[in-house]
């Protein structure tokens, strides 16, 4: 499903003393199968934008198209089928759990969407494996699990409706390095194996660089930059002006180019490979 924003404005509480324009004339396109990342600091309009993708909010003016769905200022009755196709993992999704057992919580979505429950139940073991949980958690209360496990249950509850688009709002917030790595590789495999469109909101520029193929930068409700992450991060100064940084490895490469004239480029190498590149460039420079 392709996602297109055309001149979207959004204003909270319009025509009141508290009115606040959160999105200003946003136009963008996310192709099917993209891994798009949204960056911008708190209050830049990221969350507001995300909520347009499954019709939690509707534009004050302009149009959002998600596949065949069209969201405008008018009310759309097909919203439920849209929500089934666009899964959203909110920040700290473990806070949305409420059922007595993990199984019932995961099946909450399918039930609401009126899906075939037998079929959904059959899928449970596969989904659990995908998110990295043992099947014996199904009959346990979600509240007995660790924070990291609870988050996986919440993600499973979104995946089970088989969405085409998966939106994740800071899915690694509060996790330790191991937990972070696991969630990021889970998202990677959903993107590659299931060809899901991924939309990630994150503060970790490193993750944007390593995983996404499209980056959108928001600042004060406006879309200020977009493109491939490597290109976007080339404009270090512009990003700094709006209070954002670039990934550390790119910072290092820039500094080494400027200070030492080392001809190093970023081509998705791992940190230790980058170290190797630097070492080789140094040796080459020394031999010259």
């Amino acid at each position: 499903m392709e996602i297109v924003f055309e001149n979207v404005d959004f204003t909270y509480q319009p025509n009141s003393p508290f009115s606040h324009q959160a999105l200003k004339n946003i136009s963008l396109r996310i192709k099917h199968g993209d891994y798009a990342a949204f960056i911008g600091h708190t209050g830049s309009g990221k969350s507001t934008l995300l909520q347009h993708l499954n019709g939690i909010l509707r534009p004050t003016s302009g149009t959002v198209r998600i596949g065949d769905f069209e969201l405008t200022t008018k009310k759309n009755n097909a919203i439920k089928s849209l929500r089934r196709k666009v899964g959203v993992v909110f920040q700290y999704p473990e806070h949305q759990l409420f059922e007595e057992t993990v199984e019932r919580d995961i099946l909450f979505g399918p039930k609401n969407f009126g899906m075939d429950m037998e079929e959904a139940k059959h899928k449970l073991p596969v989904i659990l494996e995908e998110v990295g949980l043992p099947t014996d958690v199904l009959q346990r209360s979600p509240f007995e699990l660790s924070g990291g496990q609870m988050r996986r249950v919440a993600i499973a509850g979104v995946l089970i409706t088989d969405p085409n688009v998966l939106i994740l709002d800071e899915p690694t917030a509060g996790l330790d390095p191991r937990g972070r790595k696991q969630i990021m590789s889970l998202i990677d495999s959903l993107h590659k194996k299931k060809r899901m469109t991924i939309i990630l909101v994150t503060h970790h520029m490193e993750d944007v660089l390593r995983h996404a193929n499209q980056a959108f930068v928001l600042s004060e409700g406006e879309l200020v930059m977009q493109g491939e992450p490597v290109e976007v991060f080339q404009e270090e100064e512009r990003l700094q002006d709006i209070g954002l940084g670039i990934p550390e490895e790119l910072q290092l490469i820039n500094q080494l180019q400027q200070a030492l004239g080392l001809p190093i480029t970023y081509h998705h190498q791992s940190p230790s490979e980058l170290g190797k590149d630097i070492a080789q460039a140094l040796h080459a420079g020394g031999n010259r």
Binding site: N54, R83, G87, L97, F98, F108, T161
Partner: protein, 265 residues
């Protein structure tokens, strides 16, 4: 995104009414309410109304806020008026509506009762518009202090009130977040059979309670780490100041009350 939500309906302004000690305002409102209930003549109502109106003007709060504060109860005031109009059957018949006689005493009674209501609401609205909820809490705590000797947990009650005030915006934000998350999982809070809607409310309330309990637990630990051990050896940072302004307002109020009883016969 819930910045627009203002607890109580406090409107920050610099005015003599705002500057008054919250205790003064509470006591005056309390006695004002008592006195209003014994008002019977037109002139005594006029005095009470003048007092409240002066307060409203001096407070520099925009009249619209006061009208807005009164909005939910306009309906009740008007309803009370109409009910009394039809129920009272004393005095002379003034005129008939749809074959129903309206008596002159009924008009007077209806006017009295609804004016009473109006004045009560006006005065309490003025209190909340010009006093922060936390100052009201402080005032309640100090005024009720004598009850401590009766082993009533006054300090704890006041602390509970102030922590509730502190966490209202947090919990509203949380409710918003959870309802959005559940809506994304296909829940519909507005339509559907009543059973489904009940389920929807559970899907909202259970996570909300769990998170509130977690917050309470965290907060209790943070308070303990900062040496909180109840009322024991505790001093207070916020202070209520009784100034000469309060004294003047009190004297003024006493004069008003004396005048009131004079005209009330």
């Amino acid at each position: 995104m819930n910045q627009s939500f203002i607890i109580g309906q406090y409107v920050p302004k610099e005015s003599p009414v705002h500057a008054l000690d919250a205790r003064t305002k509470l006591i005056i409102v309390f006695f004002y309410v008592l006195v209003t209930f014994s008002a019977e003549t037109l002139s005594s109502y006029l005095i009470l109304f003048l007092f409240a109106a002066c307060g409203a003007i001096v407070s520099r709060v925009h009249p619209l806020f006061i009208v807005k504060g009164l909005r939910p109860i306009w309906f009740i005031i008007i309803l009370t008026f109409i009910l009394h109009l039809f129920i009272q059957r004393q005095g002379e018949v003034l005129f008939t509506v749809f074959g129903y006689a309206i008596y002159d005493q009924a008009v007077i009674q209806a006017a009295i009762i609804s004016s009473r209501l109006f004045l009560l609401i006006l005065m309490t609205t003025l209190l909340t518009l010009t006093t922060t909820p936390i100052s009201i809490t402080d005032a309640v705590e100090t005024l009720l202090k004598p009850l401590k000797s009766l082993k009533l947990p006054i300090h704890e009650l006041a602390l509970m009130m102030s922590i509730s005030l502190r966490f209202i915006p947090t919990l509203i934000e949380e409710t918003d977040k959870i309802s959005k998350a559940q809506a994304s999982r296909g829940i519909d809070f507005q339509t559907g059979r009543w059973r489904d809607r009940l389920k929807a409310i559970f899907a909202l309330l259970i996570p909300l309670f769990i998170s509130a309990f977690k917050r309470a637990e965290d907060l209790a630990m943070a308070m303990e780490a900062r040496g909180y051990r109840g009322d024991y050896g505790r001093t207070k940072f916020r202070e209520l100041k009784f100034t000469s302004l309060d004294l003047i307002v009190f004297l003024l109020f006493i004069i008003i009350v004396i005048g009131f009883f004079y005209f009330n016969g």
